[in-house]
Every structure is written in C-alpha cells, then in structure tokens.
Amino acid sequence: MENSVQSYLPLWACLASLVAVPLIVIFRREIFLRELVTFGAGALKFAFVLAMLPIILEGNVIDLTLVPGIDGLNVPIAFRVDGLGLLFALVASSLWILTSLYAVGYMRGLHEHSQTRFFAFFALSLCATLGVAFAGNLFTLYLFYEMLSLSTWPLVTHHQDKEARGGGRTYLSYLLGTSIAFAIPAILFTYVRSGGEVSFGPEAILSDSDLGYWPALALLLAFAFGFSKAGLMPFHSWLPGAMVAPTPVSALLHAVAVVKVGVFCIIRVVTGVFGVDLLGRLGVNGVLAWVAAFTVITSSLIALTQDNLKRRLAFSTIGQLSYIILGVALLTEHAVMGSIMHIAMHAVGKITLFFCAGAIFVACGKKYISELDGLGRRMPVTFAAFAIGAMSVTGLPPTGGLLSKLYLVWGAAEANEIALLCVFLVSTILNGAYFFPIVYRAFFKPLPEGSADTGIAEAPLACVIPLALTAAGSILLFFFPGLLFDLAGLMVNGDVANP
C-alpha cells in the first residue's frame, strides 16, 4: 500500500518555468540576463524534481490539491506524483537544461528572430509538460495537455513563413481536433460511468465497472487517438509537419516533451483508467497493440524513404512511440516496465540525433541526407554522437536503448505474442537500415567534388557540448540504469499481475 505525502514540490517544479516567462520578457533587451533566467529556471526545476526522488523511492506518492473540487459536482485540479510521473519529469527537466544551452548556440548561430518569444514559450511548454507528468486526475491531465498544444504552436511556427504556417495548421488541427473530438468525450464518459471519480490512485478508475467489450474498446481507442500527441497512425501527420520548427524545438518537444506526453497519457489511461486487469479480462488491449504494431512497421518503412534528415527522425520517433504503446498494451510486467523505461531511453537517444541534425544545419546549412557525404571528417564529434544516438534508438549495446528494448521483447514473449515479438525484431532491423547508412555516408564516403576540405568545422560549442553530453548519457544509461528500473518498478509492482 502506498503512502500519500503532502508536498508543494510538484507545484514549485511546475511554477519554476512559469515564473520564468515574465522574467524572460522583461529582460528581452538584456540577452545575457534573459538566458540566465532560462538556465536558472531549468536548474531550479530540476532541483525540485530531484528533491521528490527520495520521497517517491521510499514507495510514497505525493498528493497536492491546487483548487479543491466539490464532491459530485466537479473535479479538483490536483497533482499526484508517482514513479511514472517522476521518471518522465526527470527526463524532461534534465534535458531542458541541455536543450537551453543548445538553443542558445543554435538560435544565435543562425541569427534567428524573436528569440525572446522563443525562450518564453519554451519555458511555458515545460511548465505544461511537468503539469501532465504530475496530473492527479484526468481533468488536470487534460488541462495541461491542451496548454502544451497551445504553448508549442508559436514554437512550431517560429519562422513565420509559408511552410511554418502549413506545419502549424497541421499541428493544431491534429492535436486540438483529436483532443476535442475524442479525448473530451472519452474523459466525460469515464466520469459519468465511474460515478464522478476520475482521480488516479492505487485502484484504476474503471476497475470495478461492468463495461462491455465494445464500449471498452471504443473508450480505449478514443483515448488512444484522442491523445494524438502519441502519434498513433492515422493521426501522426502532425509530427513530420512540426519539423518546420527550429531544431531545439524538434529536439526537446518533438522527441521528448510533447510526444512523450502523448504516450504518457496512454500509459496513464491503460494503467490508471482501465487497469491492467479489466483490459486483460475484456481482451481489448489486442486491438491497441495491433494498431501500435502497424504504426511501428509502417513508420519505419516511411522513414527509409525520407531524404530530409529531420523528417526521417520524425518518422523514426513515430515508430518508437508506438513501441511504448505496444509495450503497455501487452499488459505483462516486463513489457510495461520496458515501455516506461523506453520513455527515458528513447528520449536521450533521439534528442542526441536531433541535436546532431541541428548542429549540421548550423555548421554547414545542410538538411538532406544525400548532402552529408564525407561530413564526418569535418564534424567528428557530431557524427560520433549521431552514431551513438542511432545505436541507442536501434537498441544496440552499449547504449541504454538495448535495455528497454530487451524488456519489451521479453514482455512480448511473456504474453505469448510471437507475432508482436517479430514486430519488434523486424523494426529493429529497419531502424538500423534507416540510421546506419547516414553514419556510413558521413564517415566513409568522400566529400563531394569541388568542396574544399576545410578541416574540422564543428558547430558552436554551445551546440556541441549538449549533444556530446546526451550521447554520453545514452551510454551511461546502459551501465547505470538502476534509477530507471526502480522508478519503473514502482509502477509495476502491485500494478501489473505477475504472470
């Protein structure tokens, strides 16, 4: 039985970046101070999240009600921090600091306009991300989910040109459209069916309801498609569209925060709304698993055909997100653990890849894979990091991606789903097929004729340091994954029945 602890830490962690927003705007003329505010907020946020770690690791959960609700009338706005939420918050808040450093290098390197607006909305979207991670009930979850969609729109459309307008339109119409059309009805239906209970707790919300097969299936799919940030096909097109954003946005938001919020919500729905027992009894998880499996394979195939580096990474992200959904849909202990760990492992790996893509763009102005021939000799650090990131996302040792993938495969075997197990394996081959030609091209092909060998010409240090750190992080997570195991284990023990 978990103990509930009252603490304001989740609120402070959320507010740290919210308070930064007006400060960033105030210091818009003092660029040094403005950046200092971003880093200060990042450090504070990370510190608050870290401070929650010992409490959670002792097996407690943190509860905090912000706006009290009235029984039978409405739902409070409340936080609840458990292992899953804290793991996600840790990933997001630690990577924000690195991304901020990277963003400073990237935005200055390209002389981007409206940097104040950029940093302000970045801070705001981080506040929303932690809000989702700590949400204590479905309504709070939805509140921050929408806040994240809205606060990232100015970031996606940052360039304010025609392409950005198109990408922004796709972005919002998919995210807002699905959440209004599917997620709200699903939340309200849950609310009415459960008799006004939508708070996450040790018991799943609908665990003792008498939902039939079809209503449960409809509800599960409404949630899964409604939280379309998870990029489940056919509601995935917003993610490649969002690649018009500056690369720091693609890196943190569209490889970590926004997309992981989507899968986070689906994990919450599976474990917290339905409960593993109910889904297993009704057998509706199979449909979700197959939708996810379809997404995994299809998006990997599409990724193979993309020549734009960021778009290839985006399709790879869509596939990797569905790994997580597939894992949680398998419902077995190791699969769910693998899913939760994959949130962190994929985040660190994929952010490295995006950082590299951005660094290549800053240093050489190239965004197509066919232009990368021989660049590995010019930018050795960047491409080495790219190789490590690619290994991690593919799931090769010695990188963290191996561990989560191993657990996912183990989980599939546990569930006796040999076909789905094969999906993981085939997809791994496809991952390798779309990543390693890039590395090969960069290191082993000669520079195109006519371009002078200028020696080493890396991107600015502010870009290179973060990507080296995250690449090192991918390797470290292979050797020291203990913390992630502990946090993921907290969610699984007593939550998923031991087979």
Binding site: L110, E163, L172, L188
Partner: protein, 516 residues
C-alpha cells in the same frame, strides 16, 4: 439599509440616469463618475445579495410595502439563480462604461450624456428583469431594456446602425408583444401576475395547468423570449444590430441582452411553469433540444462564413444561445443541463464581453474590422491580443477557462439524458470555434505576406526592425484584461459558483412541486 439592497440594485442606475439627464448635458465631465459610482453601488448591492442568499436563502422585497397579491404591488426576489447574474451584469456594465469613455465622447461629444443615460437605463432594465418576481414587470422591463437598446444601436454615426436599429425595433416589438400576449392569457386564466402565485396555482390544479390556454400562454411566452434572445431562426436582427452599433454599445448589449433573455426563459421554466410539468411532457423537451441543435449548427456555420470580426462574434452568440436553450431543456433527472445553462449564462456574458471589448479595441485603435486587418496584432498590441486570446480560448472551451466548465456541465446533462446529438453538436461547435479563432490567431501571428518576407532559409534578425506598438490606452485595455482574468477565475472557482446555483435551482424546483 441592507434590507433595501434588492431595490438599490435598480435604483442606483435609475438615479444615475436622472442625474446625468439633469447635469450631464451641461458638463460632460459629470457623466463618467456618475455612471461608475451608480454601477459600483449596484455591484456592491448585488454582491451583498449573493452573500445574504448564501447564508439565509432567498430575499423577498416588496416595493413600497405592497404585499402580493393585493393590488399591483411589485415584488423583487433575489435567489441563487439570479444573484450571480446580477453581479455579472454589474461587472460587465462597469467594464463597458469604462471602456466607452472615449469612443462615445470623441465621435459625437454632444451625444455623450445621451449615451450614458441610455446606458444606465439599459442597466435598470437588465437588473430589473433579473430580480423581479412579477411576470408582467418582466414585460415592462424588457421594454425598458429594448427601448434603450434601440437608442444605443442607433447612436453611432453609421447609417447601417440606424437601419439595424429599426430592424431590431420591429423584431423586438414583435417578440415583446408575444410575451405580453402570453402573460395576458395567464392573467385571464389565473388572475395573478406574481410568479410564485402562478406557480402555486398551476401546481395545485393539474387540469388547469394542462389546459390549452395555459399551454398556449407558455408557447407565446417562449416564442417571445426566443425572439429577444435571437434563438435561431428568430435571430435575424442580431448580427447587424451588434456589429454596426458603436463599440461601447456593443460591449454591453452583446454580452447581456441575450443572456438575460435566456435567464427569463429559465425563470419561466423553473419558477412559473414548474420543471416537473415540463419534464412530464418529454416530447416538448426533445423538440426544443432539436431546435437548439439546429441553432448551434447554424450559428457555427454562419460564423465560418463571416469576414468581419464583429459579425463573426455575433454568429457565435447565436450558437451559444443554442447551447443554453438546449441545455435548459435536456430534462436530465439530475438537472445538470439546467445547471450548465445557468452557469453558462454567467460564463458567456463574460466571454462575450471580453471578445467585444477586444473587437472594439481593434476597430478603434487598429481600424481593423475584417479578420485580415488583424495581421501583426501580436506585435502591435501584445497585451490586448493576450486578452483576446483568453476570450477565444474560453469560447473554444480550453481549461481552465469557464468555457470549458460550462461545456462540461452541459455535456454531462446531455450524456445523462441520453441526448447524444446535442453532445455531438456541442463538441462539433467547439471544433468550429477552434478553427475560427486559430484562423484569427494565425493571421495575427503571421502578418500579411508571410511568403514574401523570407523564403526557405528563415528570416534573419527581425529584432532590428522597428516595432510599432499601438497598445490602446489604459481605460480600454484594463476592462479587457479584467474580463479575461475573470474568465479564468470563474473557471477555476466553478465549483463554489455551481454549487450555489445548483442548490438554488433544486430548492426552487422543490418549492414548485409542493405548491408552497
């Protein structure tokens, strides 16, 4: 003194109008302080009434001590359904009054005092409709409201405003006459005009209550009020009247007049005819909910077709009226639909106020009447744009604004009464609203020629360009930002507000069924 608060709510603006009529014509500087202090007194009295209702139940007030049903005394009754609305009316009127310091004064300075006299008389009417407990007085006060509205619409310089006012006058008079006819039937059959009396008589005599005369009376009253609230297809007067009137007038007319009419409908349902009787006639409810669905669909579709900001907002009002009428007639046993309607009256008054204040600012300080005139808005007036964004998000129904919570209660009513079409209509309308507002936000964010300014390789260093800030003066900006803040506050604290309304609704409905 505190015993007289129900009367004070009305009397303060009435005396204010007199004072302006007497002194304001000579010295225009008198106008604003008088208006603000009169409405301030009303706001204070309204808030006090909320407090006394929440501690001691409904407050009855007999004007001049004439007790009903002797004579034609006037009874005022403040209860949990109308006191929150009184507060909102006072707030919205105050915001509009402060906002309109300049627009009225600059264009036609000799008209300023007339504007404020009409403005205050309008407030008297609105407060009166809300607080009176007499069906005939509702008619009188509807006419007070309507006559001052016609004046407020026509007071600007635009000729189209005058035509719109005339159109409004015809439709409004027809609606008021329908209402009067209905009340006449009631008086003939029941010999009383007091709501509680009518209520008691109908509850105790089933045969009479189900008679054709009473039903006809009810239908007349309903159609009359529907005309007044611009319930589709009786909406024809609204778009022109509100979009061609001066911004100051639109800022009070658009948020309040339709909403107060919705309140009258709810009042007639709850404490004149009785919810039990209406719920016994299920097919009536289904019919009206279908009408409401059509209204929502029509309002949303028309809004999509508009190119002018104010016209678009007017079409949204028509859709929102559909939300409220539908919600009130859902007839779910727990009365979530009705609760949602009463809450939405408050929420929508504030949302519309916020949006029309913003539209007024754009028209006056940017010269922007059409959607595409708003390009570069976020750069030109970031604060006003922020207020507008909050208003837009509230209409879409993004939490934690009040628009989300009113939809939450309305949809809950729809689910519990099994009226899925209504639920779908609400959600579809939210989607349309999202399209509408993000279309505007996009124009405002991207500026006029997004493709020409820079091509594929990103723009470089726009921060060196001089930014022309055209932020409106404080007297216009502050009301907008206050309205925006209230949208969020009303959303965050929806629990206590709804609990207050809900207990009141259930008590009032219970009093009906026992026949006092």
């Amino acid at each position: 003194m505190s015993d007289h608060y129900p009367a004070l709510v009305l009397l303060a603006p009435l005396f204010g109008a007199l004072v302006i009529g007497l002194f304001g014509l000579r010295d225009h500087r008198v106008c604003l302080p008088v208006v603000v202090s009169a409405l301030g007194v009303s706001l204070f009295a309204a808030i006090s009434l909320v407090l006394s209702v929440s501690s001691g139940g409904p407050v009855d007030y007999f004007v001049a001590g004439w007790k009903e049903p002797i004579g034609i005394g006037i009874q005022l009754r403040a209860d949990a359904i109308n006191t929150p609305l009184l507060v909102v009316i006072a707030i919205v009127a105050l915001l509009a009054a402060i906002f309109s310091i300049r627009p009225a004064a600059e264009r036609d300075s000799e008209k300023t005092p007339y504007f404020y006299v009409l403005f205050l008389l309008l407030c008297v009417g609105l407060f009166g409709i809300t607080i009176t407990a007499d069906a005939f007085n509702v008619f009188v006060l509807i006419e007070v409201t309507a006559l001052s509205s016609y004046g407020l619409v026509a007071i600007g310089q635009s000729k189209r405003g005058k035509v719109a006012a005339f159109h409004y006058l015809i439709m409004g008079t027809v609606g008021a006459s329908f209402y009067l006819l209905g009340v006449g039937y009631l008086y003939l059959k029941l010999g009383s005009l007091n709501m509680q009396d009518i209520h008691g008589i109908l509850a105790s005599d089933d045969a009479l209550a189900d008679s054709r005369a009473i039903r006809t009376a009810f239908v007349f009253i309903l159609v009359g009020i529907w005309t007044k609230m611009a319930f589709f297809p009786l909406h024809g007067w609204l778009p022109n009247a509100y979009s061609y009137s001066p911004s100051g007038s639109a800022a009070i007319l658009a948020p309040l007049v339709t909403k107060v009419s919705v309140y009258v409908m709810v009042r007639m349902m709850v404490s004149v005819f009785g919810l039990d009787r209406l719920e016994a006639n299920v097919e009536w409810g289904h019919f009206v909910v279908w009408l409401a669905i059509i209204a929502i669909a029509a309002g949303s579709t028309m809004a999509l077709a508009q190119r002018e900001i104010k016209k678009m907002l007017c079409c949204l009002i028509i859709a929102e009226v559909g939300y409220m009428v539908g919600g009130a007639w859902l007839g779910d046993p727990q009365r979530w639909g009705l609760t949602g309607t009463v809450y939405h009256i408050l929420a929508d008054a504030l949302m519309t106020s916020c949006l029309f204040l913003a539209a007024g600012i754009f028209a006056k300080w940017l010269g922007a009447l059409k959607l595409e005139d708003l390009s570069g808005l976020f750069r030109k007036m970031p604060l006003a744009a922020a207020g507008f964004v909050v208003g837009g998000l509230a209409i879409i129904g993004v939490p934690p604004t009040c628009g989300f919570y009113s939809k939450f209660y309305l949809i809950r009513g729809g689910i519990e009464s099994g009226q899925w079409t209504y639920v779908v209509a609400l959600l579809a309308s939210s989607l349309v609203n999202a399209v509408l507002f993000f279309r505007i936000f996009e124009i405002a964010y991207f500026g006029k020629k997004p493709a020409d300014s820079h091509g594929d390789d990103h723009g470089h260093d726009h921060e060196s360009e001089p930014v022309v800030r055209l932020e409106p003066p404080l007297h216009a900006l502050i009301p907008l930002l206050v309205a925006a803040a209230l949208l969020v506050l009303l959303g965050l604290f929806n629990g206590p507000v709804v609990e207050f309304i809900r207990t009141g609704l259930i008590e009032t409905a219970a009093v009906v069924s026992t026949g006092r």
